[in-house]
């Protein structure tokens, strides 16, 4: 099931994509296709461009060169890394989830009873329904992450991009939220998550993109997560800590 009602299969194609900040590319000359209905983990060393790539897909960062081709209508939902949200902000858990309807409601359209119901269901799915009326300041970081997942659910997107969704979260919450990812995948959505827990990646993600500024490998998990590839990524990381060089390509 693609996201385009006319039967085209949605995909994101990277054409020689380079993204970065101020002459320092974090992602170098990336080519490839993010397939429809894939569940992909992005792994790689710190500073390897994982977050940068997600930001480029969302449109928060403009590519330095190359481009991202989006075929089909694809709504993207994005969960940033350690969100910059001020949790003392006076807003309730329920209202936070309702924000997820922005793509449908925009500036002025009211929230329907059906949407309220949907938001409550999303909270129920992440085990936070009894917190709906509480202010977000009353939540722990793990609980707040669950609420943000509920917001992602109601966004009803075609592509979910999650930047380290399980960082600083206890193992029970991780298991619960991972199940949410798997459900999205089973519903035919495309899911991409930056993950650091390699055993988890091996067990649960069918596809992996190993990124160390350049793409080391991209494909089915067993083919990508080889000793060789991981060592190569590590080696590259050590190199760029020592010196940055002008890109020849």
């Amino acid at each position: 099931m693609g996201c385009d009602g006319r039967g085209f299969v949605m995909s994101l194609v990277f054409h020689n994509l380079t993204v970065g900040y101020d002459r320092h590319p974090a992602v170098h000359h990336l080519c490839g296709t993010l397939k429809d209905n894939s569940l992909t983990a992005i792994i790689g060393p710190n500073g390897g461009g994982k977050s940068t790539l997600l930001k480029a897909i969302v449109g928060l960062l403009k590519p330095l060169s190359g481009h991202i081709q989006k075929t089909g209508r694809c709504q993207v939902a994005y969960l940033p890394q350690v969100t910059e949200i001020d949790r003392s902000f006076p807003v309730s858990v329920f209202d936070t989830v309702l924000l997820g309807f922005w793509p449908v409601c925009g500036l002025w359209r009211g929230i329907t009873r059906h949407q309220r119901h949907e938001a409550l269901q999303a909270l129920e799915a992440v085990g936070m329904e009894s917190f709906a009326a509480r202010p977000i300041s009353a939540l722990s970081s793990g609980q707040f992450q669950r609420v943000l997942f509920a917001r992602l659910m109601v966004q009803n997107a075609d592509v979910f991009l999650l930047d380290e969704p399980f960082a600083a979260i206890d193992s029970r919450t991780t298991v619960d939220l991972m199940q949410v990812l798997i459900n999205w995948h089973q519903q035919g959505k495309t899911v991409v998550a930056v993950v650091h827990d390699l055993p988890q990646v091996k067990a649960l993600f069918p596809e992996v993109l190993l990124l160390a500024r350049e793409c080391i490998a991209w494909g089915p998990t067993p083919a990508v997560m080889t000793e060789d590839n991981l060592r190569k990524a590590d080696g590259l990381a050590r190199q760029w800590h020592d010196h940055g060089e002008v890109c020849a390509a």
Binding site: D22, V58, G59, L60, V76, A77, Y78, P80, T83, E84, I85, D86, F89, P90, V91, S92, L99, W102, P103, G106, L107, W108, P135, R151, Q155
Partner: protein, 290 residues
């Protein structure tokens, strides 16, 4: 001395007091809720900086037309928006953070403003622009305040969702809406027009006081966004009335009296407020048994 002579008579019997009160009501209704938004965005000091930023524009207006309200207001508006946009550009195209750029720009603006005024005016003019004179509010400035206040409240009503979301989770808004930058700019424009409207009454330095002090105090009494704005507006109204009465009865400058009244409200809230105050922290109500 009856309550009437203390509380009502000054406003009923003197036209300048009536106008001053009306002006303060208008400013409180729009500035204080806007201050809540500034506070929630952790930009409480930004209002202060923007208040300085309008000065060179006001000064240019003053140089061109003397103490003409329309020219000075227009100048202030242009200067304020220009500084806001320049700070935004500088922040986006360099590695420096927004607050650092803002500090640099407002300091330059303040100095430039003082320098320009001294070219033609004297210290009295300068004091007037910096500290205002709420008792000299005339019909023209009342109309400006009424216009700005209405504009602010209508904009709030129309773009409530966007302004709130942009303050709460700007990254989310950018990911679902490609015009989110417009709302940031709209918000800055609101701040600038409110400061411009109140500089005549309170001066550029104190305009921000009526914006921020009631807003900051409201945080201790309300938990939702809308209640906070209502409480802030109420505190603004109370502080302006108290300040004007104080200045009338004990013959002190009205601008500082208003801001200090708001300051007293803030201090009382800080100590005894319902949420997060000193009282709430050290002498909490009994906790829920669950």
């Amino acid at each position: 001395m009856s309550l009437y002579t203390i509380l009502i008579a000054p406003f009923a019997e003197y036209g300048f007091m009536t106008k001053a009160l009306l002006g303060c009501i208008l400013l409180s209704l729009s500035s204080a809720p806007l201050g809540v938004l500034l506070m929630l965005r952790q930009m409480s000091l930004m209002g202060d900086a923007m208040a300085h930023a309008v000065l060179p524009g006001v000064a240019v207006g003053f140089l061109l037309g003397g103490a003409s309200l329309p020219l000075m207001s227009l100048g202030g508006f242009v200067a304020g928006v220009m500084i806001a946009v320049l700070v935004g550009l500088a922040t986006r195209s360099t590695t420096l953070k927004e607050d650092a750029n803002l500090a640099a720009f407002y300091l330059m603006a303040l100095s430039l403003g003082v320098l320009l005024i001294s070219l033609k005016g004297n210290t009295v003019d300068l004091m007037h622009l910096l500290f205002g004179s709420v008792l000299a509010v005339d019909d023209a400035s009342l109309r400006l305040m009424a216009g700005v206040s209405s504009f602010t409240l209508i904009t709030f009503a129309l773009f409530y969702r966007a302004l709130l979301t942009e303050a709460f989770d700007p990254v989310f808004l950018r990911s679902v809406c490609n015009r989110s930058g417009v709302f940031h700019l709209l918000f800055l424009v609101l701040v600038v027009v409110n400061l411009v409207a109140s500089f005549q009454a309170l001066g550029t330095l104190m305009a921000v006081g009526l914006m921020m002090l009631p807003a900051v105090a409201s945080r201790f009494w309300a938990q939702g966004f809308a209640p906070m704005m209502l409480v802030a507006a109420g505190f603004g109204l109370f502080a302006s009335t108290a300040g004007l009465l104080l200045s009338y009865h004990i013959n002190v400058p009205s601008g500082p009296a208003i801001i200090l009244s708001a300051g007293v409200i803030y201090l009382i809230s800080l100590l005894f407020g319902r949420f997060g105050s000193v009282r709430a922290r050290y002498f909490p109500f009994k906790h829920l048994n669950q």
